[in-house]
């Protein structure tokens, strides 16, 4: 399971302020916390700084990688910002994210083509949001074909079938779960990735619903997630779900998590 730590996002008020003030200590601290809690990548997003995004994103990559030894998830649709971030990034980042929306696609594809970059491929196209499992699978197919044709290796593609809020469409959770299963079957060498908290957007008791949904998605084959790694219950849910579906030989990670008290909640 690949975990992307989602916290360093400028649309979060405290983070936006820290980025604006170039508060390297705070950004570094949050990067360290996320990695300590199990993040494989640290997401960096400076999307609210319209016009200056490239400069801020570059600073975020430098600041995060001064604090921690993991790659970043470079979170922007703007090719200039992505290029600026890539210029200073050490190791192999994941680009978050390409889609079949024409502008986003045409802007990011040249950056990805023929490289070893990893990329999240979001199942969205121009015209309408996907509704059914079939919509998602079809868009995933377009994305995979297109990226592979442009010399992106299929194992570097992380397909995000798009989680939508259950509160407005009460069947979208099932469509998403079925899509994960179908995508893993159809494109077995590719990976999946999602930020799933959107599922509970309009509902109360979101944390609980999100954990259950995560376990269900993992059972369908989800192997990557964008989460707050400091959320102990969520990380415990992920660990337990992985072990329960047989991705943890001799239950080693589960038992290690137990000994590290990761299943004990305050």
């Amino acid at each position: 399971m690949q975990i992307i730590g989602e916290l360093i996002n400028a649309s979060r008020k405290s983070i936006g302020k820290a980025i604006k003030n170039r508060d390297a200590a705070m950004i570094g601290r949050i990067a360290k916390q996320q990695v300590a809690c199990g993040a494989d990548y640290v997401d960096v997003n400076a999307g609210v700084f319209v016009g200056d995004e490239a400069e801020y994103l570059k600073w975020l990559v430098e600041t995060v990688q001064e604090a921690v030894d993991v790659p970043c998830a470079i979170d922007s649709p703007d090719p200039r910002a992505v290029e600026a971030a890539l210029a200073v990034h050490k190791g192999t980042p994941i680009i978050n994210s390409i889609s079949m929306e024409k502008d986003r696609h045409d802007n990011l594809l040249p950056i990805l083509a023929g490289t070893d970059l990893k990329v999240i491929a979001l199942c969205v196209e121009d015209g309408a949001m996907p509704e059914t499992k079939e919509d998602r699978l079809r868009i995933a197919g377009r994305l995979v074909d297109d990226l592979v044709q442009h010399d992106v290796r299929i194992e570097n593609i992380y397909i995000d079938p798009l989680v939508q809020p259950l509160g407005t469409t009460d069947t979208c959770g099932k469509a998403f779960l079925d899509a994960i299963e179908a995508i893993r079957e159809t494109f077995s060498e590719a990976h999946t990735m999602c930020g799933l908290s959107n599922i509970s957007y309009w509902l109360p008791n979101r944390g609980f619903a999100n954990q259950i949904f995560m376990a269900m998605a993992i059972a369908k084959g989800l192997d990557g997630a964008i989460v707050d790694p400091r959320n102990k219950r969520m990380m415990a849910t992920i660990q337990a779900a992985e072990t329960l579906i047989g991705r943890d030989s001799y239950c080693e990670n589960y038992l290690e998590a137990h000994r590290n008290k990761l299943f004990e909640f305050p």
Binding site: M129, G167, W202
Partner: protein
């Protein structure tokens, strides 16, 4: 046996999201000689107002609000044809999501809440270029123009639309209300919007406050 129709039943039917029941109640009310205006303003709109209030206070949640809106619509369908076009509506609202942006949930909710408040709502849909907004304002002459954008990259389109309203000489004839997750008060002010609604449930309230203030101001002048 004659019974006096209790409008509270419609109000409660809307609050509880009883889709078929509200339709039947509206038909019953009509058959008992209650005017469509009264069914709307004393029943359906009162119910939806209560829903908006409970939603705001986290006493009701989105799926319930959607069901209530559907119940309200089922009642409106019964009386719509008989409601005189102009006189009995609060006003007209044109609403849409800007070009390059496919987000419809917040925009549709806002549309629903305004419909619930008695507006005739013209919903332009998502991914609409400025011209469509301008043409719709010319055609429908709405009191309110609602513009939605959910992306930092599409947000500037809202300012473009306001500028084009000015260029077309129709900025003064419509009140512009904007919303969307990345929108802030500062941004709203910077592009010259009249009202900023931080979420779908606050839009109606903010619009009412705005018009109240405006009419108070024009009254004192």
């Amino acid at each position: 046996m004659t019974m006096t129709f209790d409008m509270k039943e419609i109000v409660n039917g809307v609050i509880k999201g009883k889709i078929d029941e509200v339709k039947a109640l509206a038909e019953q009310a009509l058959s008992e000689g209650i005017s469509p205006e009264e069914i709307s303003s004393q029943g359906l709109v009162v119910g939806m107002d209560a829903v908006g209030e409970r939603w705001k206070n986290d006493e009701m949640f989105m799926p319930e609000v959607l069901r209530s809106a559907k119940a309200m619509s089922s009642g409106m369908d019964v009386i719509r044809d008989q409601l005189a076009e102009k006189d009995n509506q609060v006003g007209t609202m044109v609403i849409g999501t800007v070009e390059g942006d496919l987000h419809d949930i917040g925009k549709d909710l806002a549309a629903m809440m305004f419909e619930g408040a008695g507006y005739k709502v013209v919903n332009l849909g998502v991914d609409q270029p400025s011209e469509v907004f301008i043409e719709a304002v010319k055609e429908h002459r709405p009191q309110l123009l609602g513009i939605s954008a959910l992306l930092t990259t599409t947000m500037p389109r809202m300012g473009d639309i306001i500028n084009e309203l000015k260029e077309a000489g129709i900025r003064e004839q419509v009140t512009v209300i904007i919303g969307g997750a990345p929108v802030t008060d500062d941004f709203s002010e910077s592009i010259g919007a009249d009202i900023y609604a931080p979420n779908a449930r606050s839009g109606v309230e903010r619009a009412r406050e705005f018009f109240k203030k405006k009419s108070a101001e024009s009254g004192s002048n």
